[in-house]
Subunit: 425 residues, 2 copies
């Protein structure tokens, strides 16, 4: 059967000038879908002292399960909780027949969802919104690399309650984070299992516990951009609102003690500029990389709450290669001297860059464009000013990788503790 986009989709953008479409990258076109979320700067929050009683000081929180159940029973979270394993395993039909099914438009099916009705009553208005107007008119949307489809899976039932999406390169790490969060939220139980929702493919893994979705993105910008296109569409089809996306990753540090955790202030490219460059229809297009400053400050506070490891706010350089792209001298190919390398890394440090990884810029650009609060929290595995090889003992590297998980786990519990006021979730 031939892959095809409906005529309606193909006609939708027809006649618009290219400039109109380039401009839609950063904001949805008028009169399509829910309104775009206000910028974080425009968002108003009561000061901490105005928090309702449910928001207790972070140092002495109520037990996680109590907080979670308080938030749910209050109805103020704007969604009802569907246990992850059940929801994750409830396809309407086998994905194998996705291509043969003519389903009603997702929007119609979602409009009839009680879950969605409740969300409409209670959400904060910050729906996840693709900037592509075609998505709203697709009869079926096959999320090919997730092995999910709007015609084979009830996405609102499976994902409608998602408020936090944590992403990372390693599938194993994202599964471990899900089990960790289940414990932290008091949602685990003896023999509990957290099945891979994307079990039909080996491109990415996806796990869910409560309001936390955990997804792997592989290595590099292209692998991450494919995942993000489908993740953003998934959250849109599921009618999710007020979603925060955080990358919990590994990186090479610059001038930091190995094991330090960097909360990213700005994601910059290899020229130290806060931009994400891509080729679109053979032309170079540059986008700003926007990370939520207040979210970064909240995460820094979580590091201060924990006092378990050094936590630093700094710029993160996003490259497209681990070896030459990051100035390493130990790759199969190397076209520069040690002196060239040292000068480059020292210039990066002078520009406020504290770590180097391979995904932050596309995450900031795409999530920022679609109304998602986004942050990057990476641990440094080595100090690049002192070496290139990652050869610390295995058990040391494993403990390092758990640090961003502990920091973000603490952040999620604090956000849930504040859920009595939905403006804060």
């Amino acid at each position: 059967m031939e892959a095809r986009i409906t005529g309606r989709i193909l006609q939708s953008p027809r006649g618009r000038k290219k400039e109109d479409f380039l401009s839609t990258w950063q904001q949805p076109p008028a009169n399509e879908g829910p309104p775009p979320p206000p910028s974080p700067a425009a968002e108003e929050r009561p000061p901490a002292s105005h928090f309702p009683p449910v928001n207790v000081p972070s140092k002495q929180p109520l037990p996680p399960r109590v907080l979670w159940e308080l938030a749910l029973s209050s109805g103020l979270l704007g969604f009802s909780f569907t246990p992850a394993p059940h929801a994750a395993c409830s396809p309407v039909r086998s994905p194998a027949v996705a291509g043969r099914i003519q389903a009603p438009a997702p929007a119609e099916r979602m409009a009839s969802s009680g879950l969605q009705t409740k969300k409409r009553d209670n959400h904060n208005g910050h729906f996840v919104q693709p900037t592509n107007p075609n998505v709203a008119t697709m009869q079926e949307d096959v999320l090919y690399h997730f092995h999910l489809s709007t015609s084979t899976h009830d996405l609102p039932a499976m994902f409608g309650d998602v408020k936090f999406v944590c992403v990372g390169g390693s599938p194993t790490r994202m599964e471990a984070f899900t089990k960790y969060m289940a414990k932290e939220l008091g949602l685990d139980h003896p023999g509990a299992e957290y099945p891979n929702i994307c079990v039909g493919t080996d491109r990415y893994v996806m796990f869910k516990v409560g309001p936390v979705l955990s997804v792997s993105h592989g290595i590099g910008i292209p692998s991450t951009s494919v995942m993000l296109h489908e993740l953003i569409k998934l959250l849109y089809h599921a009618r999710c609102s007020d979603v925060t996306v955080i990358r919990i990753g590994t990186s090479g540090g610059i001038g930091l003690e190995p094991g330090s955790v960097v909360v990213t202030r700005q994601a910059v490219d290899a020229s130290f500029k806060p931009v994400f460059e891509q080729m679109v229809l053979g032309k170079r297009v540059v986008h700003r990389t926007h990370l939520d400053e207040r979210l970064a400050q909240e995460l820094m506070q979580c590091g201060a709450d924990l006092r378990e490891f050094p936590t630093v706010l700094g710029n993160t350089m996003c490259t497209s290669d681990f070896y030459e792209g990051q100035g390493r001298l130990d790759g199969a190919l190397c076209s520069y001297s040690e002196k060239d390398k040292q000068e480059y890394l020292e210039a990066a440090h002078a520009a406020g860059i504290r770590n180097i990884e391979m995904e932050s810029s596309v995450l900031a650009a795409m999530c920022g464009a679609c109304g998602l609060q986004v942050a990057v929290v990476c641990v440094t595995l080595l100090n690049r000013l002192e070496g290139d090889q990652v050869n610390s003992p295995h058990e040391v590297l494993v403990e390092y990788q758990e640090r961003p998980q502990r920091l973000v786990g603490h952040f999620i519990k604090k956000r849930l503790a504040a859920a009595g006021n939905p403006r804060d979730l």
Copy 2:
């Protein structure tokens, strides 16, 4: 323990001008390691009619096991066969202690290897050669993303007999290809297992059967470049010679019937140019993408031998995104119209491009620079002139993905059939 490069390595490139190093990307510096391989054009082969008796017509080959044993017993392959499961599972020490071990220089250990001595007597002189002079002087080389190291694994014993490296994005597909090749080469047996050599990490998978190594590379150029840096160093440390690398992948076709297999003539970028562009120390560097023309013709002949599916020789466009980067209208973000997309795809077709994927250009540039014969063989899952979504039935897509494996399996058997003359392997 801090990661560190030995002073010897750091001093090695010191004092050279940057231009010198840029020039070494395409050729190893003089007087370091074995000589660079001659260009395919300079290589001399006897015409088919001069093949020795062991090289029978491809339509009526001797049984694979007979050919394989003939080649081994003749000693003309230049290596002795070590069964993959045994070799693949023989680490000298646990990778967990890699960082604490001071091993002798790999070159010294390899020089004392009988396997290597035999290789020196029989190889064709086309050793795999990193263009980075530092690699030859490293006391230990940790291949971090493979979870292998020169001080914890006997790489010559594990990989010294590798002649064919097949790579693809999907870990499952690369495992399936290994099992398929075991059958095709007559090397499988009841209950045979092919363990993942990179079991200590979840970044990539690696399997080996006879002279065939199968490695996953994930999605996109960055993920593939990380794998290739470590693969090329692995083949160098193992003293492999006369190695052919073939990507067996999936792609979107342009003007082809879905299920067609494209053998790549030239890997081009999103502007239709045969180049691979990367950022090195913050500066844009452009490399030519070199694919072996004679190897592509051999693969086309294999498609003609099989007569099982359409096989086309054409240019392949390598992009850094699956959605906007390939002109799709169904991503979360879309900044152009259907008309813009159609004009772009039609211009690509006019430029000789027959399929679009995300890894070919970096594969061609890096392997070509390091003395590896390289080719790209991808099946098309859909015709992009007719649609964007990959929504054919699952079983149809699975059969499509087997086609490059069958073509390359036939090619490997033909190459082994010609192994009586080592110049042809």
